[in-house]
């Protein structure tokens, strides 16, 4: 079939950050197909050098507003690893709780505000205010609830205040725990309604087998805060070997740093986590997966959103469990951390190197620091989930376009936009991404 198509989506909307989709089809043949990232680089890794490692979480959480708690936790893990600080059990529980709050907040934003408009054929949530006011109100209410949960725990969601190296600068009191519990129950109800709503919507059908990567460990709990790096192709290595996993490489037309492990590309994110760790999900989340028809190994990238809905059920249930556990045990207030950048040398300091690997909403996030004997950063490296997904998205596009080539240019464009959005790319945080020179 001879057909000419030229798609140029300049500034993809409803994603975090700036990206373009470029597709050229000539005489029915796909000639160009790529996802361009046009975010201005900010050079975090470069300017971290010379700062105290104790400041790293404060600075690196500013890489991204939406995964800011996840960056904080990865950064803290890397720094504590370098400084040989071991968090207490209470601290670990509270960090897990914080990560749940962020997964919920980010997933809800993505599911409702970014993806849902495509599924019902409108350009944004704004027209839905009139046509489906209950749905919009629920989405905003859920978002607000997650924010309030973060406010109570760490002061705010965007750039959390009290989560620091060593623990927390404030700890929840009884009424905070009560308040979080109450809000989590409200959220739980809204999450259940969300499962029902999305079970009635249709996601595009498309499949491409790929390698999925996520944290794995030997515990019974769905791993989010720590573990080794695992793959659906059956591999497992320690987080310290991340460089051998991500194998950053450059594509000739863009000089972008991309990643691959055993295949041409790999995917991280909710679907990857589900594919690797579905057995460890909360029973209610497993039930939701059934209702939403999500089964491992799912290789339809559009179903990443479905996996996010399933994770919402898991996170809200597990958060309730943690709050109840803390309530039962009581909080040890002796563990309150006094923040410092260590200018007075009161905190542990040693030369060291550390790696933090955390599952943030969009997938595996790695921070790697090296500091001198005064705790001053000598080197820093951050590997961001979106960065790892870019090449996989592009290979998806390469397979998808020929399959839908008989459709109109508008339909193809929408399918591609939806595909990119399904990965929930957070391009603003892509400290490694490339700037394309437009011709």
């Amino acid at each position: 079939m001879s057909k000419n198509i030229s798609i140029n989506v300049n500034y993809l909307t409803r994603v975090e950050g700036h990206g373009n989709i470029v597709v050229e089809v000539k005489d029915g043949k796909l000639e160009v197909c790529r996802l361009e990232i046009v975010e201005s680089p900010r050079f975090f890794e470069a300017f971290l050098r010379g700062r105290s490692i104790y400041e790293a979480p404060h600075i690196t959480c500013r890489i991204c507003g939406i995964c800011s708690c996840g960056h904080t936790l990865a950064s803290i893990q890397a720094a504590e690893d370098a400084l040989e600080i071991k968090p207490t059990e209470q601290t670990t529980l509270l960090r897990k709780l914080l990560l749940h709050y962020e997964q919920l907040d980010s997933h809800i934003l993505h599911i409702y505000l970014l993806v849902a408009p495509d599924l019902v054929g409108v350009p944004s949530f704004v027209p839905l205010i009139k046509s489906n006011p209950d749905v919009v109100r629920r989405a905003l209410r859920m978002k607000r609830l997650c924010n309030e949960l973060c406010d109570i725990l760490v002061g705010r969601h965007v750039h959390p205040i009290s989560a620091v190296i060593g623990g927390f600068t404030k700890l929840p009191n009884l009424s905070d725990l009560e308040e979080m519990h109450k809000r989590l129950l409200e959220l739980k109800h809204d999450v259940e309604v969300t499962v029902e709503l999305f079970s009635k919507l249709t996601f595009p059908e498309f499949e491409r087998d790929t390698e999925y990567l996520a944290l794995v460990n030997d515990e019974d709990e769905y791993p989010l805060l720590y573990g080794d790096i695992g793959s659906t192709d059956g591999y497992r290595v320690s987080k310290y070997e991340y460089k051998n996993v991500v194998n950053e490489f450059v594509v000739p037309y863009a000089s972008a740093k991309r990643t691959k492990w055993h295949r041409d590309s790999y995917a991280v994110g909710a679907l990857a986590r589900f594919n690797l760790n579905h057995e460890k999900l909360h029973p209610k989340a497993k039930q939701a997966a059934n209702v939403l028809n999500l089964k491992p190994k799912c290789i339809n990238p559009y179903f990443n959103t479905v996996a996010q809905i399933v994770e919402c059920v898991h996170c809200v249930e597990d958060a309730i469990r943690i709050v109840e556990l803390l309530w039962q045990r009581g909080i040890n207030y002796d563990e309150i951390v006094i923040p410092d950048i260590n200018e007075l040398g009161k905190l542990p300091q040693r030369a060291g190197e550390g790696v933090g690997a955390v599952e943030v909403p969009r997938g595996l996030l790695i921070h790697h620091y090296e500091c001198d004997e005064r705790g001053i950063l000598r080197n820093a490296n951050c590997v961001i989930p979106t960065n790892q997904n870019t090449h996989n998205i592009e290979l998806d596009m390469l397979k998808l376009v020929p399959e839908i080539i008989t459709q109109s240019q508008e339909e193809i464009t929408l399918a591609l936009e939806m595909l990119v959005r399904a990965y929930d790319p957070c391009i603003s945080c892509s400290v490694h991404m490339v700037k394309i020179n437009f011709k």
Binding site: Y11, T13, R14, V15, E16, G17, S40, P41, R42, F43, A46, F47, R49, R51, E55, I59, R62, I63, C64, G65, I66, L109, L113, P123, S124, F125, V126, I129, V136, R137, L140, K143, R144, N147, V154, G155, R156, H157, V158, H159, I161, S162, V164, F168, T169, K170, S255, K257, I336, I338, P339, D340, I341, E343, S428, C429, V431, H432, V434, K435
Partner: protein, 248 residues
């Protein structure tokens, strides 16, 4: 009267300030009753090619492409608002200015650094005229709503000139210096209700230096608590490095 047309634009930043706006939640529906949001790329596909009554600009200016883009936005906007630390003072992105640009590029991208042309990080007002400033990293939601009300009423918003300490005292926090810590509160513009100190952390100075900081008084404070001045300078650099461009 037609609703004012409002748009949001982002430059180099974490987009957390836009998120703070989205995070306002249900009350946003009431705001949408009185303004028409015509562009907000992060959450809307709609675009607009006319004039903006109010343009909110988030992020700092870090390359020539951004310089041109923000100038065009300025031309099309009656009122331009700098949203958040990156836009108002350059934010953490300004720390890049402590290094040679080429060296910074090479550190992150190796020999491919030439694909990432970059300039010294600038705050928005260092490139175009700004009518309103909403400070903070991230912005403080209630201050944002106050500024929005001022804009819609056509009156100026005055960023408090007193330091964070004033609000901190009203919140009855124990002074961080008395706890043996160095805090940026005494030289940082207020308006955030001493958000970080209320949560047990120190002030990192994200809202920028007060217009007329009492440096001599502050030096005495540092002396009293035995804190070397250069440590403080390092702290000031975290958010205020772009200020040096004003003097050059």
């Amino acid at each position: 009267m037609s609703k004012p047309k409002v748009a949001f634009f982002d430059f180099a930043c974490c987009e957390g300030c836009q998120l703070q706006v989205a995070n306002i939640g249900e009350p946003l529906i009431d705001v949408l009753d009185i303004v028409q949001v015509v562009e907000f790329r992060e959450v809307m596909s709609e675009k607009w090619d006319g004039e903006f009554d109010v343009a909110f600009v988030e992020g700092s200016i870090t390359d020539e492409h951004a310089v041109e883009r923000v100038k065009k936005i300025r031309e099309r906007s009656k009122i331009l608002v700098a949203l958040g630390s990156c836009a108002t003072i350059g934010g953490v992105n300004g720390m890049k200015n402590s290094f040679q640009l080429e060296e910074v590029g090479k550190y992150v991208y190796g020999e491919s650094y030439k694909f990432f042309p970059t300039i010294h990080t600038k705050a928005v007002h260092q490139v175009v005229k700004v009518d309103y400033f909403v400070n903070g990293c991230p912005i403080y939601q209630s201050e944002f709503l106050t500024v929005l009300k001022c804009i819609l009423q056509g009156i100026p918003y005055y960023v408090p000139e007193y330091p964070v300490c004033v609000e901190c005292k009203l919140n009855e926090n124990v002074c961080m210096y008395d706890r043996g810590l160095t805090c940026m509160g005494p030289v940082t513009k207020a308006g955030c209700n001493s958000w970080c100190i209320n949560n047990g952390n120190i002030c990192y100075g994200c809202r920028g230096l007060t217009i007329n900081p009492n440096t001599e008084g502050f030096k005495e404070v540092l002396k009293k608590y035995n804190i070397p001045e250069d440590f403080l300078m390092k702290k000031i650099e975290m958010y205020n490095k772009c200020k040096e461009l004003d003097r050059s």
